[in-house]
């Protein structure tokens, strides 16, 4: 039986009729056409589906959408504000931390949570924070550099 669930995504509220078996990832991509959140392994391993829920990074492929009533969800589409890129996005471009781009939107969100909780992380803490986001291009060096540059105030 479908349930009416109100999802708050990137500051907007959406009232949706959802089957209990729909994952948040499928709702984001199929129902709301927010394609920035990627479907990689669909089994909780690769981290490509990461979104921020109530300030914490979670895997949308392993989250039932009906459980998200009242939660504050941020996807990559909500990271830039008023058309202005987030410093992490700018830094990713400046450092060439994007290769195929599949994992980019998700490690940016993991990095955002890290810097909110720990504004001056060590390289190891940055590595741990993005350890749940697999980069199939293995471009980790530049990913870590680009996050550290924001923490060090080199990119605004």
């Amino acid at each position: 039986m479908k349930k009416v669930v109100t999802l708050r995504i990137n500051g907007e509220s959406y009232a949706l009729h959802l089957r209990p078996s729909q994952t948040l990832l499928d709702v984001l991509r199929d129902d709301l056409e927010l394609m920035g959140t990627k479907k990689g392994c669909d089994s909780g391993v690769c981290g490509a589906c990461t979104v921020i829920m109530d300030g914490e990074p979670v895997l949308s492929c392993m989250t039932l959408a009906v459980r998200c009533q009242g939660k504050d969800i941020l996807t990559i589409e909500g990271l830039a504000e008023n058309g202005k890129l987030h410093p992490l996005q700018k830094s990713a471009i400046e450092h060439g931390a994007v290769q195929c781009g599949f994992c980019t939107s998700e490690w940016l969100l993991s990095a955002k949570v890290l810097l909110e909780n720990n504004p001056s992380p060590t390289p190891e803490e940055v590595q741990t924070a993005v350890s749940g986001n697999l980069c199939r291009c293995t471009g980790y060096e530049k990913i870590v550099d680009s996050i550290l540059a924001v923490a060090e105030g080199k990119v605004h």
Partner: protein
């Protein structure tokens, strides 16, 4: 992978949740963090008619409380990350924090709960693979068949227990509270595990693990949780060693020691031989004896395609010795207090 259809309910009381789970028997499954369960649903290993969501249960299930007298109380719905971030847990149980932060990835730690982690299903080289791969082979014991793909010729299921938190809590002598439709009991954690690959724990339909109780640390105690795996993130333990010990005041004599392993049997293993360390000076020979006892108890099988079972068994000795040395270091610096 689409999830199979199911009904969904999120009761507000433990009693109601227990009743719903008991009424539908095996057709209803509780969902906490969902990270273990959703994979089983996607792979059609489980096809419940009803999911009973535990996230609306009372605040007591989200409680973290510490007192020097009673020790630590952790609600079953506390996330791994919440527990690992809590000041008292960090100060008094650093070994538990090591285990919590070794689970999966940061996202899994945020989503996964303590209760769910302790109840996670056993894994094997066949059972947890995709439905497509499973179709190419005969069903195993765990899927109602008559063979075991992990241990050829075995008449029983050899799916391995691969949780990280249980060995740490076993070494800390934790107890758990299980609430059923008409009952409530507190049992030592080791009695929770059945060593049956098909059904790894003793929960009955209608039972919910609501609380974990950890005794206060002894003076001059130390510990370590060491995990063998290929990648430092995401992987399950190919071997996990949880060790806790305390030293007699001013001497290198063991007051108490507890050791538990994971990833190498159908249940997390509490190594009883650790008790024999009591009152002994922790010289190399004594520690080697404990490592040898742990080695003998471990039975790693092909849970994954990485690292041979023989290598993993050999590493039991190495990891136990290393864990004891780290624990002694911590304890002799004054311990966790």
């Amino acid at each position: 992978m689409k999830l199979p259809p199911f009904e969904y309910v999120a009761p507000k009381s433990v009693t109601k949740a227990c009743e719903l789970l008991r009424k539908k028997k095996n057709r209803a499954i509780p969902i906490a963090g969902g990270t273990d369960l959703l994979m089983a649903l996607k792979n059609r290993l489980k096809t419940p008619a009803l999911l009973v969501d535990l996230h609306n249960l009372p605040r007591s299930l989200y409680r973290i409380a510490y007192s020097p007298k009673r020790g630590l109380i952790l609600g079953g719905r506390v996330s791994l990350r919440q527990a690992a971030n809590h000041t008292a847990v960090r100060d008094k149980y650093p070994m538990l924090v090591q285990a919590l932060l070794s689970v999966g990835s940061p996202q899994i730690q945020v989503m996964g709960t303590l209760g769910g982690n302790l109840c996670q299903d056993n894994l094997c080289v066949y059972y947890n693979r995709s439905p497509m791969l499973r179709q190419t082979l005969e069903p195993c014991h765990k899927l109602g068949g008559k063979i075991c793909h992990a241990v050829r010729g075995s008449k029983t299921c050899w799916a391995t227990y691969c949780g990280d938190v249980a060995p740490a809590l076993l070494a800390l002598q934790a107890k758990i509270k299980i609430v059923g439709p008409n009952s409530e009991k507190v049992i030592p954690l080791q009695r929770f595990y059945s060593a049956d690959g098909k059904k790894p724990n003793v929960l009955k339909p209608g039972d919910i693990l609501t609380e974990i109780q950890v005794p206060p640390p002894r003076p001059r105690s130390g510990g370590a949780y060491l995990k063998l795996r290929i990648r430092k993130a995401i992987d399950y333990p190919l071997l996990g060693v949880g060790l806790s010990l305390s030293l007699r005041n001013g001497e290198a004599i063991c007051e108490e020691a507890n050791l538990a392993l994971t990833g190498v049997e159908r249940a997390p293993l509490l190594i009883q031989e650790a008790e024999t360390l009591q009152g002994k000076r922790l010289e190399d020979k004594i520690v080697e004896g404990l490592a040898e006892a742990a080695y003998r108890r471990a039975h790693p099988v092909n849970t994954v395609c990485e690292l041979t079972p023989k290598y993993r068994k050999d590493m039991v000795r190495v990891y136990v010795m290393e864990a004891v040395h780290l624990a002694i270091q911590q304890a002799s610096k004054g311990g966790v207090l």
